[in-house]
């Protein structure tokens, strides 16, 4: 499967071989997610520690297409992981949690998560994750249990504006990031 930066064939079927790194300190969920993702024909790597996940991502720069990570982990705050991944690797990150309180979701959004899934996670929610990797923003199929942040919300445009302003100050347009959020 080609790296995230090159074009991915946009089709109705999810691409087999999408390389997913799933990070969760809960061994049961890690096992279930692995099975579910494999059923989606994705290539799955499991990891139970955020620090290790970061190392793996750094060691294999183009080795993964997308990261799915739990928010509450003992060694590193899941939000911090997402921030790092977003900054260093420019990979889409999906967050997971057992709680869906608005605070956490918004925190996820501001840390760069492209989606937020609530446990118990259904396989149908995982079937669509490839859309976050595709170049073109595609209509994103929402399921009842996922908070999708693609409603073209004010948060997105504000964040982009901030980044643009900052880039202008530095007179450096290369730091302008493509918007992470898919707009339907």
């Amino acid at each position: 499967m080609s790296p995230a930066s090159s074009s991915v064939a946009v089709s109705d079927q999810f691409p087999a071989g999408l390389r997913v790194l799933v990070v969760d300190d809960d061994p049961i969920w890690l096992r279930i997610l692995e099975k579910m993702l494999r059923k989606c024909l994705y290539e799955v790597t499991k990891c139970n520690r955020a620090e290790i996940a970061l190392d793996m991502l750094r060691m294999s720069k183009n080795g993964y297409d997308i990261v799915i990570s739990d928010v509450h982990m003992p060694d590193m705050d899941g939000f911090k992981l997402h921030e790092q991944v977003g900054l260093e690797m420019d990979l889409p990150v999906i967050m997971m949690s057992v709680d869906g309180c608005t605070q956490d979701v918004m925190k996820g959004v501001t840390h760069g998560a492209c989606n937020y899934l609530l446990k118990p996670i259904r396989i149908k929610e995982l079937r669509n994750i490839w859309q976050h990797v595709a170049q073109q923003p595609k209509p994103f199929e929402e399921s009842d249990d996922s908070y999708s942040v693609n409603q073209g919300n004010w948060r997105t445009s504000n964040r982009r504006k901030d980044e643009e302003e900052e880039a202008e100050k530095r007179d450096d347009t290369s730091t302008l990031k493509k918007p992470r959020f898919l707009v339907s």
Partner: protein
Amino acid sequence: MNSNQLQHQVLYMRRSLFDQGYLDSEQLIQLEDLQDDANPNFVEEVVSLFYSDSARLIQNIEQTLSNRPVDFSRLDDILHQFKGSCSSIGAKKVKDACSQFREYCNAGNAEGCSRSFQLIKQEYETLRRRLESYFQMVKQAKAA
């Protein structure tokens, strides 16, 4: 019992687990859907993993509750993990007991936490027994 009767028993036990609120039906079905030739006993495997992993969480709660002063923040952390695990197998009653515990935790009520903890352990063991019987019946029905 013959094959049909065994099947009937399996369905009856399954229905009871749902109707009596022990298990979330959707989650069980999701797990069953993941069973295949490579992992024909995936559900049992996951349940087994749940019980072996959560044993340490129970121990941690026990330990933290016995320390003085009670570290409610730590307790809340552990319970949060426990809730997450419960959702993996759809352990409804256990999960609800955890929620109740967390409420007492947030209120700084150690006595309430202790009582909730007793309930958690109770539901946890009851579910274990019920699931063990259920899996046994499933195996018998398969063999028949």
